[in-house]
């Protein structure tokens, strides 16, 4: 069973990973976006970390709801509302249980990813975070390590894709040949989840 502390550690691991990889995320974004993805994600997850250091909510759902709200209000780019919606929808779907199963998390994450797709209007193959998140959610039934690997493969598979959403879509065919920064940060989120599960 996964308790609130597990979810706090997941967010902490994500914050550390985003901080470590901020330069890489920004470099990927410089190629096809506006070169702020790393700093935006770092600002958002630093705020999440600071709040969770003060107090951890009592349920898994409440931890993710809090983190999502902070991302919406602090990130300053499109990744704020997108990741904020991902975590808030997932948190809401987890309900008020003090502990949840891996299956519950998998199902809730799927709801969260659907929320992201609705908000951004993105489908699989549009060269967005969805391309890492959807395969990860599909693989979660086989465990956290499988979800992590699926997210990383999904992010790498965005390289040859043509961007259909966001600023990168204005570049047309010039968006081809670059890994999507949002899919890359989504892979970090899933890697942090696997790390947390490994302990």
């Amino acid at each position: 069973m996964l308790d609130a502390d597990f979810f706090r550690r997941w967010m902490t691991a994500t914050a550390a990973s985003v901080d470590r990889e901020a330069e890489r995320l920004t470099a990927l974004d410089a190629a096809i976006g506006d070169a702020d993805h790393g700093s935006n994600m770092r600002r958002g997850f630093t705020a999440v970390q600071a709040e969770l250091d003060k107090e951890t909510p009592g349920t898994p759902g409440a931890v993710l709801m809090l983190a999502g709200r902070l991302l919406i209000s602090t990130v300053g780019g499109a990744s704020g509302p997108l990741y904020g919606t991902l975590l808030r929808r997932t948190g809401k779907a987890l309900g008020e249980d003090p502990e949840v199963t891996e299956d519950q998390l998998a199902e809730a994450l799927r709801t969260g990813v659907q929320g992201v797709m609705k908000l951004g209007g993105a489908a699989a193959g549009d060269k967005t975070m969805v391309d890492a998140l959807l395969p990860a959610v599909d693989a979660l039934g086989d465990g956290f390590a499988a979800a992590r690997a699926a997210a990383e493969q999904g992010a790498e598979a965005t390289v040859p894709l043509l961007a259909h959403k966001g600023r990168a879509s204005y570049l047309g065919e010039r968006s081809i040949g670059h890994q999507d920064p949002g899919a890359t940060s989504s892979a970090l989120l899933m890697a942090a989840l696997a790390e947390t599960a490994e302990g």
Binding site: D34, D36, N40, R69, I72, S73, T74, G76, G77, A78, S79, G80, P81, L82, G84, T85, R88, L119, G120, G166, R167
Partner: protein, 135 residues
């Protein structure tokens, strides 16, 4: 006699200067629109280019007179942030994201709001600005 409640308007841009200038332009072109509550929400809180949920929420609260709030945005994260705030019920009741061109829609919205029109009419006028062809 009490004045009719006017629809509030929020203009969200990635740039503080763009948001403030379009507010000034829309109010200037709208003539007697001085009474219309219009607020800019531009850039990040730190003054950079981007979108601030806090600035959007504050702007929406500041123009809410009880007749609804029409929010017009430029692009990308401005659109997504307003949608996310609406989904989280973080904006005043009867706040709508209006599907309209930013500048032309703002002018149409402010002029229409100045007549005492309701939120649906303000929204329709702003959206119709898409139909104004230039060539």
């Amino acid at each position: 006699m009490s004045e009719a409640k006017l629809v509030g308007i929020v203009l969200v841009s990635h740039s503080a200067e763009v948001a403030a200038s379009v507010v000034a332009l829309a109010k200037g072109l709208a003539g007697g629109a001085a009474a219309v509550p219009v607020a800019p929400a531009g850039g990040t809180e730190g003054g950079g280019l981007g979108t601030s949920a806090e600035l959007i929420s504050a702007a929406a609260a500041s123009v809410d007179r009880g007749a609804g709030v029409a929010v017009l945005t430029d692009l990308g994260s401005a659109v997504l942030t307003v949608k996310a705030l609406l989904a989280e019920d973080e904006l005043p009741e009867d706040t709508r994201l209006v599907d309209a061109p930013f500048l032309e829609g703002a002018v149409a919205a402010v002029v229409t709001a100045s007549t005492g029109a309701d939120l649906a009419a303000v929204e329709a006028a702003a959206t119709e600005a898409y139909d104004y062809r230039k060539v």
